[in-house]
Symmetry: C2
Subunit: 532 residues, 2 copies
């Protein structure tokens, strides 16, 4: 085989030519490259916007206003806003430059990269400072771990099965998993789990286990579930049923009962949300379990995956919260690691029952191994970050931070109400929902996640009262500026947050009118009254 | 909603008690905790092994000898080796400890963690030094990027669609993607891609796109394909056909043609390997395309995903190698970023045709957004690592490193032949396959990936001649020690690597006997002759 090999490998003659210094310099001298990187992208993006309608179906031009985490859109909401054209990223991308022969002498490449990185770092500092819309705790200090960045740490495959690759961090990973299994009350020898790359991987895994346990099961999930839940159904070719939600964002148990009754010939795989993406709503697990029993689903005919992306880790520290525990007949729980805990890169934790994984492994004969993680190679740094923070903060530290978040969320809620903003804050949540600002520059500055007519702030440990004050003042200003004459018209968002939370002239927090019988009857009455 | 909220969050009364310092101290004083971390795990693991048979089906005890990356096992191979019991990781895991009230004063927690990390770092240095079995380039210096570790960088969703979350690195990601699109000859406005978490995600994506483009397509992939390919088929509920391989590990085109002919009523989705996991074999893309044409598959009735995990980035720099290019009718290419390039954490690159993604987006109406990545939140650090190395090394740097790897692979191949080891080195590869050492401690030391009767060394840029010399000397010693009297019996691995590469007494590199007509006729003749 190897005898005839031509050892002298050379660049293939037809290899496309790399970008040369000359063309790079041209790029650099253009105004686009001369200015700081990230800010540039933002302002440039705004120049190249397309006007599209959200609910065009099959038009091929659908793109999200928001990010992947918040792309659930109520099909009834018809809006017309500026959408960032996807491909504009090419304009602001940092092209790879082929090094010149003399780069090592001149140091030009090093200088170029150092300059790019310095500018980039500056924008990261700025962007980190003004951030309220995403559930990421940006307040962490992993300086003690920077010594590990030079290692290629890979926990490939199963956390509990040693690979021959020695540069791993399984001892940290299993320590973290044990902590979570204890938090959710599953014995060491009865659980299996792993540290995932993000909340989506946890959901993909939980739902896959559900499908393997109940191959003809129907997936039930509320409309407010994270989009990865329905993505899973499509990927896995599962029948999926969307269940209505209450205005709070919670699953509508009446609708769930009806749909479970309709589908009772087949087993049920349920996604239960502990903190929905947009409104931070918590589905009522106990009522769901009761419904399953009432409709006639025995425990071998349903599987529950609990999506606790953000709040799965906060709820154990909230007194009135219902309990997420494996003492109830649930199959798996997932939570994100980069959200409440905080981590330089996305990660998550998935805990399930060992018996399900054993069943899964038996099914997958042709793999000839227990291949139970979705990814093969797995980031070995993430477990160390989590291990570090769990040790430093402990139960007591998290408890304090949860208190801080909920207090500050109430502070924001109260402040916004005082200045006539419609606002929703669910009881078990630190997600504050309010009217979507018209001022896109303001939305960008504070990095608000928006959906239809609403936006939200998620109060994380890194959010202080001072930051919230600054935000509210800016928000008031932004609203004023959206009206040419300064006469603010408060938009009606009763349909999204309920009439008792809506500040529009018709509802005024439910004080002016009697409760609406049917939310869909709400018409456009935004122009009836104004206030300053 | 929020009016009745009890702001005073307290730890739930029934929260399971965290581990206290007392019990931790007990743990720490036990011999298991007192010694260095990683080494400990390895030696402890070896104490708790189970004897299982590889081909027990449905026994529930199947676990891999190897790692997730190398778990393809020929069902004909019946072996009986010590398997690491999965759950032993609990014994050596680093438990999370609840901080004491006085920790901030005493500094004990910080001291504890610093000690754990210092020991861990030491073992990482050691394990990085002795490593030959996995295709990871461990030779990188990202010191210039350590300043970015304090930021939560998240490229959530599509790389080309701006999220409102500002702490991202899309400008780096798109720069890297442009580089790869140029390498594989796809125009900027015709490609779509993203930076994945690992090679598996690339394969999962490529095959998913194939299935969405051709919903009733049958997946064809060789037996030597990465296990994630068949995992995808199972996840996605696709019909999958395993195609035989030649001894080199390449797909058997005769068998492929037969199977494509049998299945021609349905479209074909093919996985083509550019460097298989175990033998580094390259499937013959041009012949595969010819077969498709001959059998009657028009271009709208097949989809090819190219799995270039390791070699997809090396092959463009090997003169005789066939070309991976989108000028041929392929649908997607994936490659790992932590392999040839080197990266602290796993990552990869996936490039596909824009038209497929547009079709995908149109299909996924209910998502109301272009949700084309598998993961939602995505590691924003990985693109910067890749961007940094691509800039520093460029085409010329990679070319030199590929030459270095192939030269050193030949060096190892020649040295092993000289000391009577059966050895296989494919023409376009730096993967050297040889007999699996009996000495498990040696396998662990060098972190060899093993499968059945063979093991391999993958020569990466971080592998020097000196390291290979050290390895060969150790291997000779290890072989000697495996035989009580020092009389070495060379095992027959002709079935795995071909008679002309087998050093056993019967084959002696094909010099002693005529070629075998049927590889399965090879009997056990290992005991006929010995040599020292």
């Amino acid at each position: 085989m190897s005898s005839g090999l031509e050892v002298e490998a050379t660049v293939c003659a037809t290899l496309p030519p790399p970008m040369k210094k000359a063309s790079l310099k041209k790029l650099q001298s253009s105004p686009i490259r001369a200015r700081p990187v990230t800010e540039e992208i933002l302002s440039d993006s705004l120049k190249t916007v397309l006007q599209i309608e959200r609910n065009v179906v099959g038009g091929g031009g659908e793109m999200p206003i928001d990010d992947g985490d918040d792309s659930r859109v109520d099909p009834r909401v018809k809006i017309n806003r500026g959408i960032v054209l996807g491909k504009n990223m090419h304009e602001s991308s940092l092209e790879i430059r082929e090094p010149e022969m003399d780069d090592e002498v001149t140091g030009e490449m090093d200088a170029h990269m150092a300059a790019v990185l310095a500018r980039y770092r500056k924008t990261l500092v700025e962007r980190t400072k003004f951030h309220l819309g995403y559930p990421y705790n940006l307040d962490f200090d992993y300086g003690a771990l920077s010594q590990l960045q030079r290692f290629s740490i890979n926990n490939l495959g199963d956390p509990f099965i040693e690979s021959n690759y020695g540069v791993h961090s399984r001892q940290f990973e299993v320590g973290v998993l044990n902590w979570f299994a204890r938090l959710w009350e599953l014995e060491k020898d009865e659980y299996w789990g792993y540290i995932t790359n993000c909340g989506t991987e946890g959901n993909l895994h939980g739902i896959l286990v559900g499908r393997e346990v109940l191959p003809d099961g129907i997936l039930y999930a509320s409309r407010d579930s994270h989009y990865s839940v329905f993505k899973a159904a499509r990927m896995y070719r599962m029948e999926a049923v969307k269940v209505d939600t209450l205005i709070s964002g919670e699953i509508d148990c009446t609708d769930l009962q009806r749909k479970l009754t309709e589908g009772r010939d087949k087993p049920a795989i349920l996604n239960v949300n502990i903190g929905t993406t947009v409104k931070g709503a918590v589905d009522d697990l106990d009522t769901i379990l009761k419904i399953l029993k009432d409709v006639g689903y025995t425990e071998d005919r349903f599987y529950i995956h609990v999506d606790g992306a953000l709040f799965g880790l906060m709820m154990p520290f909230v007194k009135k919260a219902p309990k997420v525990t494996f003492k109830k007949p649930i199959g798996s729980v997932s939570v994100s690691g980069h959200k409440f805990i905080g981590c330089p890169m996305p990660c998550g934790v998935l805990i399930t029952r060992m018996k399900h994984i054993n069943a899964l492994s038996r099914n997958v004969e042709y793999l000839a191994s227990r291949d139970a993680t979705i990814m093969g190679s797995r980031n070995g740094h993430a477990p160390i970050f989590l291990w570090y923070t769990l040790n430093r903060k402990g139960y007591r530290g998290f408890q304090k931070e949860v208190q801080h978040c909920i207090r500050n969320a109430h502070y924001l809620n109260d402040r916004l109400r005082k200045v006539n903003f419609g606002v929703l804050l669910n009881e078990l949540s630190s997600t504050v929902v309010f009217e979507r600002p018209e001022d896109e520059a303001f939305v960008h500055k504070w990095q608000l996640a928006c959906q239809g007519k609403i936006a939200h702030v998620i109060v994380m440990p890194s959010v202080t009262v001072e930051k919230l004050d600054l935000f509210v003042e800016g928000l008031i200003e932004a609203r004023k500026h959206s009206f040419a004459d300064g006469n603010v018209i408060v938009p009606c968002i009763a349909e999204e947050i309920g009439h008792q939370n809506c500040a529009c002239s018709l509802h005024r927090y439910g004080l002016l009118t009697t409760p609406l019988k049917n939310a869909t009857q709400i018409g456009s009455h935004e122009n009836q009254l104004t206030f300053k």
